[in-house]
């Protein structure tokens, strides 16, 4: 483990003050040249700090006495976390352009990924089946096209995007809204471990910092900043994804939106945003890839030999998902035959069984 310099220690020390917004942190730093100075002459800044926010002075004061760099080193080593400071080689250059650039980032995994071509896939935490399918398919093709998939490791679309990238053995970056040692949401633990191993998990929050609601909008600005463009697969009207889109537009990034069913509440947000002339429509991953002049990688499809009844069932599913009973009516097969045919097609990977006794391609 490398030793941190005195100024770096001061930055870490300031980062360890929990419950500050990035604006407050930037305001604190603007008071003096370095964070070192801030801690050295803390009491002389009392009034200025008090103006930034109530209770902030007390928080900093408490950290000043408690901060123990040795313990921090051992802890980071134990959990396999690393830190990169602003101005260092590994620090994402694009972040320097941010109005409130973080002074330090904590990460797990391969920091080199930030130099790859990154593309963000974001969306609602509660995707419908449409959102799921869109996310899976678009992410798969975009990552095959050579992009590193960036997302926020939240529930729903984020998690799907990361998972698909990992499935494709492509790189992925998760920018999270809490400390590296906090896994939120807990159900993503496995995914979190996998990304830490094969990808990169990045955060501006200090260890132990909980996933507070205001962290997510803050985190979103890093997601869009890291990427060349942002794809929104599904988002409702009140989705936090809108914040990411606004950041992306402010930062001059490309925004791609997947249009949805106009009656679906889950797609209201993306559909609404389509009114914005700065956004682009993505009806397939090709729309995204060709914009960046990338080739769409053709999936090598294995030729499978299907029997007559299998062809019939597959044909029936071509236009839409069908319920088991619809399939019986359409194909005219007996129940036993149809069940057996469905299992075989499913095992071949040609069709999918969906909840509620539906089948689809």
């Amino acid at each position: 483990m490398r030793e941190f310099s005195a100024s770096q220690r001061a930055i870490l020390q300031l980062a360890s003050v929990q419950g500050l917004t990035y604006r407050q942190k930037a305001a604190l730093l603007s008071l003096c040249e370095t964070s070192e100075e801030l801690f050295a002459h803390l009491y002389s800044y009392h009034n200025e700090i008090a103006e930034i926010g109530d209770g902030i002075f007390e928080k900093i004061e408490a950290v000043r006495d408690r901060f123990d760099p040795i313990r921090l080193y051992t802890y980071m080593e134990k959990i396999g976390a690393q830190a990169v400071f602003r101005g260092e080689n590994d620090f994402p250059a694009s972040f320097e352009l941010l109005e409130e650039c973080p002074e330090v980032l904590f990460y797990k995994g391969d920091i080199g990924l930030i130099n790859e071509e990154c593309f963000a896939v974001v969306g609602t935490r509660a995707p419908t089946r449409y959102g799921r399918d869109v996310t899976e398919q678009f992410t798969r093709e975009i990552s095959r096209g050579g992009f590193t998939i960036v997302s926020g490791l939240a529930r729903g679309v984020d998690a799907i995007a990361h998972r698909i990238a990992l499935e494709e053995n492509r790189s992925t970056i998760a920018v999270i809204g809490c400390g590296l040692d906090v896994v939120y949401p807990a159900e993503n633990k496995q995914l979190y471990d996998d990304i830490g191993e094969k990808g990169l998990i990045l955060t501006e929050y200090y260890f132990g910092e909980a996933a507070l609601p205001y962290h997510f909008p803050e985190r979103n600005r890093l997601i869009s900043m890291l990427s060349q463009g942002v794809l929104v697969t599904e988002a409702g009207l009140k989705s936090g994804t809108m914040i990411t889109v606004n950041y992306a537009l402010d930062q001059g990034k490309d925004v791609f939106l997947v249009p949805g069913n106009v009656f679906s509440a889950a797609s209201k947000g993306t559909n609404e945003m389509l009114h914005n002339p700065q956004c682009m429509i993505a009806c397939s991953a090709k729309d995204v890839l060709s914009y960046y002049k990338k080739d769409v990688e053709k999936q090598e499809e294995e030729a499978v030999q299907l029997t007559a009844s299998e062809v019939m069932v597959y044909g029936a599913l071509q236009d839409d998902d069908k319920h088991f009973e619809e399939l019986i009516a359409i194909t005219g097969l007996s129940m036993g035959e149809l069940m057996a045919t469905l299992t075989k097609l499913e095992v071949l990977g040609v069709i999918k069984r969906l909840p509620g006794n539906y089948y689809g391609i």
């Binding site: 509660a126 069940m339 057996a340 469905l342 095992v347 069984r353 509620g356």
Partner: protein, 510 residues
């Protein structure tokens, strides 16, 4: 003078002989009952005193001692009223005939001397018969119950007076005539038929397979999909009750006090639906009196648990032993009794707490954890005992299905019976009756599958992420599907279909 009357008491489903000895001594007028009586028996002194007086006899103004032998077992119930009254009359020499010694006497008295029916009579009659007693005096309201037992003479009386007249004069009253058992069709009892359920063909098929092979079923579907209706229809395709089964069921229902007195015997398969607030003793049996629980009341029938995850975890876990062994052992300080519990479990549940997971029309508002938590209420070991899991969705395919004639329960039942016949021939020398009861060794013996099916199963495990323990259950169900088709060997299609009945193993729940 001393009188000794024969009577019976119940321990679980078995009766045991109780000698009721009555002695009348000089002393302060009082009735003393000894021999570990419960409160109901202690109070019988008051009932007997009034009943004797109101039947035109005198109750001796002396010290009356009633001993219930064997003295060391706790006795309960109100069935000793009549034997005590007869004993008192005999001991006080108001009843001259000594013929009461030939009878086993049972009955509860009301204050005016009328007899009231008792619980568990059929169990007592059968035990009494097995122990060599032939003649019984029983309350008239229990007559129907007694009429199905061959080889006994059950004399029905309506009042204490009638009982005394029977004993004095004999001969005049004929015993209850024997009646041949006839199982009544379930449709007549439950008023449901599969023909009434529109659509849901996949579920019907799964239930047919389940009944044919004796498999337990879990139905997963949103509210309004028709889960309860389908479950109710299941009894209508089950084979008719045999006499032995009927007697076993009747015994349990009689002991529990829920027998229809007019009918006297259970003629159709029971369908029990305990509410999800049920307690463990109510479900598996117990309480201070060690009464049979719902699992035993559903013996040879269906136990339907609506909204399975709503039941307490503890209650669900207690189902494991009865499902596995076919009986429950209820142990209490006073006694340990064993009740049979051969039932078919049908469970129903929503796919998620809000019920809309996977629905086409509605949006599910549940988080993945809450869904997992909901599904995980059913533990692995319990799920292991449920061979068939199916999904339902409320679909309206009126225009698609209207031309199709819905199949009647009777037709399905005929197929079920055929498959059952195949199974009972196969398991002739074994102590099991259905495919669902096959253990792993028997599965290896009877469920050989072609190599093609073997590789299908293997890739199904990988592709569909089925859990490994599903394999035996898939084979059992495949065996039943083959039996339904009258095939000797399991074919690949049978295995392929059986794989479809493993809904809960699927990935999309996680």
């Amino acid at each position: 003078m001393l009188a000794k009357v024969n009577s019976f008491a119940l321990s679980g489903l078995d009766g045991y002989k109780v000698d009721i000895e009555i002695d009348i001594n000089a002393g302060l007028p009082k009735v003393e009952i000894i021999g570990l009586p419960d409160t109901a028996i202690k109070e019988s002194s008051e009932r007997v005193t009034s009943a004797v007086k109101n039947s035109g006899y005198h109750f001796p103004i002396k010290r009356v001692i009633v001993n219930l032998a064997p003295a060391d077992t706790k006795k309960e119930g109100s069935l000793f009223d009549l034997p005590i009254a007869i004993g008192v009359l005999a001991a006080s020499e108001q009843l001259f005939s000594r013929s009461y010694k030939d009878y086993v006497i049972l009955g509860e008295l009301s204050l005016d001397g009328k007899l009231r029916p008792i619980d568990g009579l059929i169990a007592i009659l059968i035990s009494g018969m097995q122990q060599g007693y032939k003649k019984f005096i029983i309350p008239r309201d229990n007559a129907a119950e007694a009429s199905f037992i061959k080889g006994i003479e059950a004399y029905c009386v309506g009042t204490l007076k009638e009982a005394c007249e029977l004993l004095e004069e004999g001969g005049n009253v004929a015993p209850v005539p024997y009646r041949e058992f006839e199982s009544s069709p379930a449709e007549a009892v439950f008023d449901v038929d599969f023909a009434d359920v529109k659509g849901q063909v996949a579920a019907k098929r799964a239930l047919e397979i389940a009944v044919a092979g004796g498999h337990n079923v879990l139905m997963i579907g949103p509210p309004g999909a028709g889960k309860s209706m389908l479950a109710k229809c299941v009894v209508s395709i089950m084979p008719d009750l045999t006499f032995d089964e009927a007697i076993e069921v009747t015994k349990i229902h009689s002991v529990a006090g829920i027998l229809d007195e007019k009918k006297g015997i259970v003629t159709s398969r029971p369908f029990r639906t305990p509410h999800h607030s049920t307690t463990v003793p109510a479900l598996v049996g117990g309480g201070t009196k060690s009464k049979p629980g719902e699992v035993s009341l559903a013996n040879h029938g269906v136990l339907f648990l609506d909204e399975v995850p709503e039941y307490s975890r503890h209650a669900l876990e207690t189902l494991r032993q009865p499902l596995e062994d076919g009986f429950v052992t209820v142990s209490r300080v006073q006694q340990t009794v064993r009740y049979p519990s051969h039932f078919m479990l049908i469970g129903s549940m929503n796919p998620c707490p809000c019920g809309n997971f996977g629905s086409k029309k509605h949006i599910c508002t549940c988080t993945p954890q809450s869904i997992r938590k909901y599904i995980n209420k059913i533990s692995g070991p319990l799920l292991d005992r449920i061979d068939i899991q199916i999904e339902l969705d409320a679909v309206e395919f009126n225009e698609l299905r209207s031309r199709a004639e819905e199949e009647k329960s009777a037709d399905i039942k005929a197929r079920v019976m055929k498959a059952r016949a195949v199974q009972s021939a196969r398991y002739d020398s074994l102590p099991i009756f259905t495919n669902a009861e096959m253990n792993n060794r028997l599965i290896k013996e009877y469920c050989e599958i072609p190599a093609e099916a073997e590789s299908l199963m293997e890739s199904a495990f990988k592709k569909l992420s089925l859990s490994a323990r599903a394999s035996f259950r898939i084979l059992r169900v495949a065996r039943t599907i083959a039996d339904l088709e009258g095939k000797d060997k399991i074919e690949t299609a049978h295995v392929a279909e059986a794989i479809q009945y493993r809904s809960l193993d699927r990935k999309y729940w996680n």
